[in-house]
């Protein structure tokens, strides 16, 4: 019986993220999946099972969305939906399947096509209770954390702006990123306000895109490439959609992140994340989210996220390179695709072939994917190139 740590990634693909008006779901899935298949050096017929992450019903239903794209008819394909963690949960389930030796070679992918729905934020109508949740938007759900975090720790808008500046610096170098430009602190601070202190440049964009990875076990991976990447740790935690009603939820920390990270670190044997992890793709849907993320993931102390960001501790050459791809903020956030895109990025970083800025000498990388209106569910995956 194999172990989760025997799981290996042998191929990965990702479309350009952005307002992909020219491409539909089928186009993007096809491009991402075939890039991954070709990267792995396998043929599509070798794929025994698939998982596809999509959040919105308007993107697609069922596993057939994947088999329609790449014509893997008749194999088992499961659609995973777990808010923004839909993609990473597809990856997680695929890992469990190959670790159990039920299958040898599987595909995990994700896709989202949001821009067909118009241009005003993420569609939230029909999500949650029609009157009790009315008015809640994604930037507000996360922005509520700023109100408490700034009261408790003195976090400022300038601290948030440093997240945007860093991630745009990283993303500007990445040919697949939604945005290809850097921003200044002043631009971030002067951008039109969206929710509370969060301005336009504190928010990730509305993007389309798709990503895919080919997953197998070490002993099979060796036949396809030497620089395969293996799974070192994994965790997922679902909390509640009603955290705003729960007096135990303090908005200083995303509880599912803490719990999912605990599980992943335990499996990986990591006790000092800031020392043992070289890079992290973490869920910066809004700049305040990344401040909480770096604290929750143990990259700095609770409350230190803002100053640490300002010091450059999470720059590409900092203590931990956080969002070397540009992150959701600059690379883009097609919901269902994002988790897989993070695995794609971490894999390529560990292989020394990052599309954009390369973290030198990276050995251990982390993908952190947070979902729901205010941190409902979280997945953490740790990958390594150490054999």
């Amino acid at each position: 019986m194999a172990d989760l740590k025997d799981v290996a990634i042998i191929g990965c693909g990702c479309t350009k993220f952005g307002e992909n008006f020219d491409w539909g779901v089928d186009d993007m899935l096809t491009m991402a999946c075939f890039e991954a298949i070709e990267d792995a050096g396998i043929s599509p017929e070798q794929i025994e099972a698939g998982w596809i992450g999509m959040q919105y019903p308007f993107t697609g239903f069922s596993g057939a969305t994947l088999s329609d794209a790449i014509k893997t008819y008749d194999i088992p394909i499961t659609h995973t939906e777990n808010y923004c963690v839909s993609g990473l949960d597809a990856f997680r389930n695929a890992c469990l399947a190959v670790a159990s030796e039920q299958y040898d070679i599987v595909i995990a992918c994700g896709v989202e096509k949001i821009t067909d729905q118009g241009g005003r934020g993420l569609p939230t109508s029909g999500m949650g209770h029609p009157v009790m949740m009315a008015g809640l938007t994604a930037p507000s759900a996360f922005g509520l954390a700023f109100t408490r975090h700034s009261l408790e720790f003195g976090t400022t808008r300038e601290h948030l702006a440093h997240v945007a500046v860093k991630n745009h610096r990283n993303g500007a170098a990445n040919p697949k990123a939604h945005f290809r430009r850097e921003v200044t602190i002043e631009q971030v601070l002067k951008a039109p306000v969206i929710a509370g202190p969060l301005g336009l440049l504190d928010c990730c964009p509305i993007s389309d895109g798709s990503a895919a990875v080919i997953i197998t076990r070490k002993e099979i991976a060796k036949k396809y490439r030497e620089d395969y990447v293996t799974l070192k740790g994994m965790g997922l935690a679902a909390y509640t959609n009603l955290m705003m009603y729960n007096k135990d939820f303090d908005y200083l920390s995303w509880r599912p992140t803490v719990k999912a990270a605990q599980a992943a670190y335990k499996m990986a044997g990591i006790t000092n994340p800031a020392e043992e992890i070289d890079l992290a793709e973490c869920h910066d849907c809004f700049t305040i989210t990344e401040i909480l993320n770096v604290e929750d993931l143990g990259f700095c102390k609770k409350g230190e996220g803002g100053p640490a960001m300002e010091e450059g501790r999470f720059n590409i050459d900092g203590k931990v390179a956080v969002n070397p791809s540009g992150g959701l903020k600059c690379f883009g956030h097609p919901i269902g695709a994002t988790g897989i895109r993070m695995v794609y990025e971490v894999t390529k970083q560990l292989q020394g072939r990052a599309d954009g800025l390369q973290r030198q000498g990276a050995k251990v990388g982390l993908a952190h994917n947070l979902g729901g209106l205010g941190g409902v569910v979280c997945g953490v995956v740790i990958l390594t190139n150490e054999k």
């Binding site: 109508s125 009157v131 009790m132 938007t137 507000s140 509520l144 109100t147 929710a195 007096k247």
Partner: protein
């Protein structure tokens, strides 16, 4: 015989100075201002507020709810049951809706007195509320205001006894609104004043004096509504009453004409100032002229303080422009996303949505909302009791959202720790962006949330304490 047990009122916080109406249209403006219901208010929500003011949020012992309005949000669908449900009146209560006539408020008051006398109900809360839409640029636009009154009619603990009732009517077309009209039409206000309203109400008041065997001298206060400020003054003149202190202010200067709610609000204002043994006569208008004579009792001294008419009038915020008024009243339509909702879901959750019941866990004692089967704090399954949440608390967290589409952006989202237990997430209304801060005193207010599912979705919001 039935009498009055308590009173309450509601005047919306927003006001529009008449000079802004005048300058927008380039026409002369009357002095003063009108009360304007916010975009999330209608006659149901205002009736709720007036009812809460009257009952001080304690519905115990109330046996019925009457709702009167010519501007009810539904043409087919009971509104009294919405108000009764929000006020948490018991299931066996008598409910009825009164509408279509500007006399509806007084009609409801008379009907309640009759029903209580006939023992149909021990007590009935009569609510009357208006948010009528006048024609832009019309005289009505500068005259009408939004507001609501509430009078609790019963037999015990009376603050005023009903001493007599007098009724009469005249048929005339003064102002009207057909089933197809959204805005009020008036053919000729001078015709209506001289041939309809003034002679009608004067003869009703004189008839009442004759029937009751009293004259103006015996009265402490004469309370009568009117279509406008000018004709209100004409009535006193025709009656030969020179002592202005005897005439109850019709609130045209600071609130505006509140249609069928006007006599109830004015009565509430009169009772605020009344002393034991005072004789107060209330006359309604609107084709049916109904007159009630009241004698104030000693119990009025023991009535608990409330915001009432005075308290609501001083708690206000002036609108910045006439254009904002047009937007709040949906007179300028802006293309917005359609929300989704389901009458079935609203019905299933009615106890949480209307009277705002959460749960109290029998195992750990925690109060939580929305109501669920399993306690989120101790995980005990199906071991809880319904818990009516208090309507006030302290603000714990908030954010101003500019993304959600609203007539009054930003949408202020709040998390409040309620007095007596429970944390709740609600939109905030009637607020200045600058005034919102963690720890501030919060009141809950019942509002219209959106029109998803093509019906009026109501729910609670927070507001800074008025």
């Amino acid at each position: 015989m039935a009498g009055i047990v308590s009173y309450g009122a509601y005047i919306p916080k927003l006001r529009l100075e008449r000079k802004l109406i005048g300058s927008s249209w380039g026409i002369p403006a009357a002095p003063g201002e009108i009360a304007v219901g916010n975009f999330d208010e209608d006659s149901v929500t205002m009736a709720v507020e007036a009812g809460r003011d009257c009952l001080l949020d304690d519905p115990r012992g109330v046996g019925g709810l009457y709702f009167a309005s010519t501007s009810a949000p539904y043409d087919e669908k009971s509104c009294s049951t919405i108000v009764a449900s929000v006020l948490d009146l018991s299931q066996g209560s008598l409910t009825a809706d009164f509408g279509t006539s500007l006399s509806a408020g007084m009609n409801a008051l008379l009907a309640a007195a009759g029903a209580v006398d006939d023992d149909l109900a021990k007590s009935i809360l009569v609510t009357a509320a208006e948010c009528r839409i006048p024609q832009p640029k019309s005289a009505d636009e500068q005259t009408l205001g939004d507001g609501a009154g509430a009078i609790l009619v019963g037999k015990e603990n009376l603050i005023a006894e009903i001493k007599g009732i007098y009724t009469t009517y005249e048929e005339i077309l003064g102002s009207w609104r057909t089933a197809e009209d959204r805005m009020i039409r008036d053919y000729n206000p001078r015709f209506y004043a001289s041939k309809g309203y003034v002679p009608g109400i004067v003869s009703a008041i004189k008839g009442a004096f004759a029937k009751f065997g009293i004259g103006p001298d015996e009265l402490s206060k004469l309370v009568y509504g009117a279509p406008d400020f000018r004709s209100h003054g004409q009535v006193a003149k025709s009656l030969g009453i020179k002592d202005q202190a005897k005439i109850q202010d019709a609130l045209f200067a600071l609130v505006g004409g509140m249609g069928c709610a006007q006599p109830l609000v004015m009565l509430a204002a009169a009772l605020e100032e009344a002393n034991p043994k005072d004789l107060v006569m209330v006359a309604g208008w609107g084709d049916a002229y109904n007159v009630i004579l009241l004698e104030v009792t000693e119990a009025i001294r023991d009535l608990e303080p409330r915001r009432g008419v005075k308290g609501h009038i001083v708690s206000k915020k002036n609108l910045p422009s006439y254009a904002k008024y047009l937007e709040l009243k949906s007179l300028l339509t802006v293309d917005r996303d359609v929300q989704s909702s389901s009458p079935i879901q609203v019905w299933r959750d009615r106890k949480a949505i209307y009277p705002l019941y959460g749960k109290k866990c029998n195992a750990c004692g925690e109060v939580y909302f929305p109501p669920r089967r399993v306690c989120p704090y101790c995980r005990k399954y199906d071991d809880n009791e319904d818990f009516r949440l208090q309507r006030k608390g302290k603000l714990w967290n908030f954010i101003h959202d500019y993304l959600y589409q609203s007539e009054d952006p930003p949408t202020t989202l709040t998390i409040t720790d309620l007095d007596g237990g429970g944390r709740i997430f609600l939109q905030m209304t009637d607020r200045e962006v600058e005034e919102v801060e963690v720890g501030m005193d919060i009141e809950l207010t019942f509002r219209r949330i959106h029109e998803g599912g093509r019906f009026h979705n109501y729910y609670w919001k927070t507001r800074p304490k008025r």
